[in-house]
């Protein structure tokens, strides 16, 4: 073993907890109970109170999470990993899977994000879904999602993660297709499900490989034994986990489902497809740091995937006229940043999680803001039909503006701190990666400014008969809270708090020696962002925005509108060959297999029909057959003896 202990990732070794920490199981159990009650009793019986039950369970989980967080904060740094064995899930021979909870600095942050943002979005949904006949069912699904997501981040092993992983996949499927009377929504749900299956296969194979290699799938066991595995095994493990992460986090090449997933109700887009579920891939990579630390190949692959996605998502975001799809492209891109940071290893893990949190705030804020705008515009999502809304929906505009400033990285806002750190670390790793991340920041500034201008500024391009109005309080209060978090999220970095907080999980990194002083990078980033904003101002604000999207556009715009041909590539590379294969197999089955089977069947029946004539019903012929049989038996015996 040539890896010294100081370099290797920390081994997961939880200790037991008491007090609130022994009630950790309640955190996922409460929303699960809510989902159970609502979904079992059904939409009709629960509709008067289901939304409040749903919100209350998540809020209660948040409170427990908050108290538990402070308990953990009060513990000694070396003792901030709490394990709780719940029960033995199954035993098969030597393979025992215990279902247990691992509550450490990493999962504590996720719990707060999921239940905190989750509570706000639940609250928002009370207003947003007020006129939907199936609101109770919607809250049942939302609770199911929150419960599954909490299982995902609180499990102490890969199998538990997989349980949550599939649970959030199911909830995501149900919620994207919530309005399944719309064919587009039903198709989008199916697409998300199918694409995610590809990623899930990575997860299944990785878990299986871990069991085959280490004989355990718990974080504790795997982190302890990982350094003993062969390099090839570690490489394969890292790539399989990355495949899983790509599916859930909509990273290239499994990105295509996220844009279509915007067919779901907007709170779903905010909660699942921006703040929480899509970050599960980042969680998986960071949680598996004890594997990625041992494989250069794996880390490089993560960085490449992250860099490609952050550029692709940003470019797609530039060309979309659908406000939610523009935000979805942005989400892809921002998760690309997180992946890139996670791929940078110990230096980047903490910043990946930091950006994940701030992104959770500002992107949820903006999605909910977009929902509020749609609410005002009679559910129209086309930004070409917006314009000059800042007067009509002032609260939404102001809160959205906070999110906007955060995402482009306006100095002082939360996104500034988190993105700046990632770009800086990327430059520390390699010039090219740094440049990609920098370019992404510029493009982000461009498409977000475009979105702001098209939605809130300029002249009115409203559809006739649309009378925008501000949303009710129940929707604006979550917007205000999230806006505040978008502005202030940066405090987590004060005194490198988040880095130190996560050190017990991901290890401590020596600072890279950068060729330029840190402040220089910050200035460069701010300058690039300013250029992006300026270009958007010149190209969008200074020109008239046509109500119909112009068709004579550059090649790049066309490509971006077509999601950079992601669907076309899937269709050409996977769907068509798949269809052809299936058709070929069906033809083979019909013509050959069935032919042989049917042929055998009819041949046997024909034979049977012919031979049954032997069965004449006459005793004399039966006796003859007995006699012939006797002859056969005698001859068979004699033949053996003579031969």
């Amino acid at each position: 073993m040539n890896i010294s202990l100081s370099e290797a990732a920390p081994v997961v070794s939880p200790t037991s907890g008491d007090g609130v920490l022994s009630l950790l199981w309640l955190i996922p159990a409460l929303p699960a109970l809510g989902a159970l009650v609502i979904l079992v009793l059904g939409n009709r019986r629960t509709s008067p109170w289901a939304h409040w039950l749903g919100t209350a369970t998540v809020a209660l989980s948040f409170l427990i999470g908050l108290v538990a967080f402070f308990q953990l904060l009060g513990r000694d740094e070396s003792d901030r990993s709490v394990g709780q064995h719940l029960w033995t899930w199954f035993e098969a021979g030597s393979f025992t899977v215990d279902l247990g909870i691992l509550y450490d600095p990493l999962s504590s942050l996720f719990v707060l994000l999921i239940t905190g943002v989750g509570s706000l979005i639940h609250l928002y949904s009370v207003g947003y879904m007020a006129h939907d006949a199936a609101r109770a069912r919607f809250f049942g699904y939302l609770n199911l999602f929150v419960a599954a997501m909490l299982v995902l981040v609180l499990s102490d092993g890969y199998l538990g993660v997989f349980l949550g992983w599939e649970g959030v996949g199911l909830a995501s499927y149900l919620l994207i297709g919530f309005w399944h009377h719309k064919p587009t929504a039903a198709t989008a749900a199916k697409k998300a499900f199918v694409v995610n299956r590809v990623g899930d296969m990575g997860m299944v194979l990785a878990t299986t490989l871990m069991f085959a290699t280490f004989g355990t799938v718990s974080f504790e066991g795997v982190s302890e034994l990982a350094s003993g595995a062969s390099q090839t095994t570690l490489n394969i493990l890292a790539l399989l986990l990355l495949l899983a992460a790509c599916g859930k986090s909509a990273q290239v090449p499994l990105q295509s489902w996220l844009l279509d997933a915007m067919e779901g109700p907007t709170p779903v887009s905010a909660l699942i497809h921006a703040a929480t579920m899509v970050t599960a891939g980042v969680y998986l990579v960071v949680r598996s740091n004890f594997i990625y630390e041992l494989t250069e190949v794996g880390r490089t692959a993560v960085v490449i995937v992250g860099a490609v996605t952050l550029l692709a998502g940003a470019i797609i975001g530039c060309a979309k006229d659908d406000i939610k799809k523009a935000l979805a492209g942005s989400t892809m891109s921002q998760i690309g940043y997180m992946m890139l940071a996670a791929g940078l290893g110990v230096a980047g893990y903490a910043f990946a999680i930091f950006h994940l949190l701030t992104h959770g705030f500002f992107k949820a804020n903006m999605f909910l803001g977009a929902g509020s705008v749609m609410h005002a515009m009679d559910d129209d999502v086309n930004m070409r039909h917006y314009g000059a809304l800042q007067k009509a929906v002032p609260v939404t505009f102001l809160t959205f503006a906070m999110g906007y400033l955060a995402i482009i990285g306006f100095p002082g806002f939360s996104g500034f701190w988190s993105k700046d750190k990632i770009i800086e670390t990327a430059f520390g790793e390699s010039l090219w990666i740094g440049l990609a991340a920098l370019a992404g920041a510029g493009i982000t500034a461009f498409y977000m400014t475009r979105l702001m201008i098209m939605t809130f500024l300029g002249r009115k391009r409203w559809e006739p008969g649309v009378h925008p109005h501000e949303s009710p309080k129940v929707m604006t209060i979550p917007l205000i809270v999230l806006a505040a978090l978008s502005v202030l999220g940066g405090v987590l970095l004060l005194g490198d708090w988040i880095v130190d907080w996560l050190t017990p999980v991901v290890g401590h990194a020596e600072h890279h020696e950068l060729p330029l002083p840190v402040i220089a990078y910050t200035l460069i980033v701010v300058a690039v962002v300013a250029v992006g904003v300026a270009v958007a101002w010149l190209l969008v604000a200074k020109r008239d925005i046509p109500r119909e999207a112009p068709q004579k556009v550059s090649f790049v715009t066309r490509a971006a509108r077509a999601d950079l041909y992601g669907d076309a590539a899937n269709e050409a590379l996977l769907m068509r060959p798949g269809n052809n294969l299936v058709e070929g197999l069906v033809t083979f089955d019909d013509d050959y297999v069935d032919g042989v089977v049917d042929g055998t069947g009819s041949a046997a029946i024909g034979m049977s029909g012919t031979f049954r004539r032997i069965q004449t019903g006459y005793v004399r012929s039966y006796a003859l057959s007995v006699f012939a049989g006797a002859l056969l038996v005698v001859l068979a015996l004699l033949a053996v003896n003579l031969g």
Binding site: A604, S608, G617, Y622, V626, G629, L637, V640
Partner: protein
């Protein structure tokens, strides 16, 4: 010249003696008990007798003495004529259980206007005034119970015989009552009588073969004791012809009884013509008894000559499986189809029999065949019991076309029957699967894998005709009037329930019965 009275171990033979005793008492009951009480007295007597015999069997089984190396347990009794050992006791227990539930079928009087399925007056010619009178007076033959008891006694003696002459006598004791029972159907009497006559004539014919074989073997070895024959076969120096001829002719007699091809031709006609209750009893119990005897004879007496007779059994096994599976395809009568199915099962059993696996690794051939016999017995009685329920104006509706759409008409009955068919086809989670698995795996371990491959392929063909009936029941519309499903009394219900329960339990938890078969150990010599 002084005569020494033979020494009889009454206690060890008690199961056998109880059944014989009950049969004799039954004859006396016919003579002395008033007609109206006979049904009750006879059926209760038969049931009590069988239960008592079963209890005695269990007592005997717990008391078997361990012999020699410990592989076999039991003792040779009645001056060397009978061997009461593990396999004997196992077969006895199985036979008695199946006879018990068959008696319930015999006693069923709910299905046909308050009368049993047996002729009112067998001597009355079909279609005559006498027959009509017998039927209007509500007569019924209660002699069927003592007849059945004699048959059961014969069946118990057959596999326990340690002497070729005893074996022959047992063969006749079990056969003669069955010939009679076959001819006693209340409905379709001509068919029934024809079946009885055919069965009798062919049975007599094959008995002749058996007896001639016994004579030849006696000529070779100078004894009819299995142990003495085994010794002679082991150290044979000359007289090959006598031995081989003897083995061949005895095999013919045995294979006729188990219904193996090409000695099966009586099976469909007799199964179809006989009253269904008798068919159920005969199909299950005769096969078990005959296989028990076949195993004992060939493993104990002719064991050293296995090289001589295995190729012959291979041929017969393949032929039997093929004939059973293929002929069943074109049958239009449910009872004939089940008859061919039982022929196919005989073939699968022969595969297990000829595997000649001694045990050690995995289960031995003897155990696997014994286990298969148990699974086969319960599913067969159950399936035939269901056949008695589907009726129309003319009695049982046995034509397959009348079963179309039964799934809609009576989901419960169709479901149960479908389950029995799946079990016969050997679908997992039924006893049919575990049984097939047992015989095939022991045969493969014994080195007969080419035969196992053929058997697996032919069991696929066999699955085809079982599934055809299921398709017919569930996916076809009834032709004309839908057949009515008669509501049986508790008797048939219990029979079906036991058959079903055994088929399910042996499919899911075969362990205890397999252990029991393993405990039976080997034959004593």
């Amino acid at each position: 010249m002084s005569f020494e009275a033979p020494h009889i171990e009454y206690a060890t033979l008690s199961p056998l003696l109880i059944v014989f005793g009950v049969a004799l008492v039954g004859v006396l009951v016919e003579a002395f008990v008033p007609r109206r009480l006979r049904y009750l007295v006879q059926s209760v007597l038969a049931l009590v007798g069988l239960v008592a015999a079963l209890a005695a069997t269990i007592w005997v089984a717990t008391d078997l003495t361990v012999r020699g190396d410990g592989a076999a347990r039991g003792s040779i009794v009645a001056e060397g004529a009978i061997a009461v050992d593990g396999p004997s006791v196992f077969v006895w227990g199985t036979l008695l259980l199946l006879s018990l539930i068959s008696v319930l079928l015999f006693a069923e009087r709910h299905l046909d206007g308050g009368l049993s399925a047996f002729a009112g007056q067998a001597a009355a010619l079909p279609g005559t005034e006498a027959e009509r009178q017998a039927s209007t007076r509500g007569l019924e033959h209660t002699e069927v119970y003592p007849l059945m008891m004699f048959a059961v006694a014969g069946m118990m003696l057959f596999p326990a015989s340690n002497d070729l002459l005893t074996m022959f006598v047992a063969l006749e004791i079990l056969s003669l009552p069955l010939y009679l029972l076959c001819g006693l159907a209340r409905r379709r009497r001509l068919l029934s009588q024809e079946a009885a006559l055919k069965y009798f004539m062919l049975g007599a014919f094959s008995s002749g073969f058996f007896l001639y074989g016994v004579a030849l073997v006696y000529g070779f070895s100078g004894s009819t004791h299995l142990a003495a024959i085994a010794e002679a076969v082991n150290g044979r120096i000359g007289g090959q012809g006598l031995l081989l001829g003897g083995i061949a002719l005895i095999a013919v007699g045995m294979l006729f009884k188990v219904g193996a091809a090409p000695f099966h031709s009586w099976t469909p006609d007799v199964y179809q013509g006989a009253p269904t209750a008798v068919t159920a009893f005969m199909a299950a119990c005769t096969k078990i008894a005959a296989f028990g005897a076949l195993l004992r004879l060939f493993y104990v007496a002719f064991g050293s000559a296995e090289r001589d007779w295995t190729p012959m059994i291979w041929i017969v096994a393949i032929l039997t499986m093929a004939v059973g599976s293929v002929f069943a395809l074109s049958q239009t009568d449910i009872k004939r189809m089940l008859a061919y199915s039982s022929v196919a099962h005989a073939g699968f059993l022969l595969v297990g029999f000829v595997g000649l696996h001694e045990g050690g690794e995995g289960i031995s051939s003897l155990q696997s065949v014994l286990f298969y016999l148990v699974t086969y017995g319960f599913m067969t009685v159950g399936a035939f019991a269901v056949v008695t329920l589907v009726r129309d104006a003319g009695g049982e509706a046995n034509h397959l076309a009348r079963w179309a759409g039964l799934g809609k008409e009576s989901p419960l009955v169709a479901g149960i029957f479908a389950f029995f068919l799946l079990a016969m086809a050997g679908i997992p989670l039924t006893s049919g699967f575990t049984g097939k698995w047992a015989v095939f795996s022991s045969a493969a371990q014994g080195g007969a894998w080419p035969l196992v491959v053929i058997a697996v392929l032919l069991s696929v063909v066999a699955a085809f005709f079982y599934l055809r009936v299921i398709v017919l029941m569930y996916f076809s519309d009834p032709v004309g009037d839908a057949p009515a499903v008669a509501v049986p009394s508790i008797l048939t219900t219990v029979t079906i329930a036991i058959g079903l329960a055994a088929t399910v339990v042996l499919g899911i938890l075969p362990g205890p019965v397999l252990d029991l078969a393993a405990d039976a150990g080997a034959f004593i010599r």
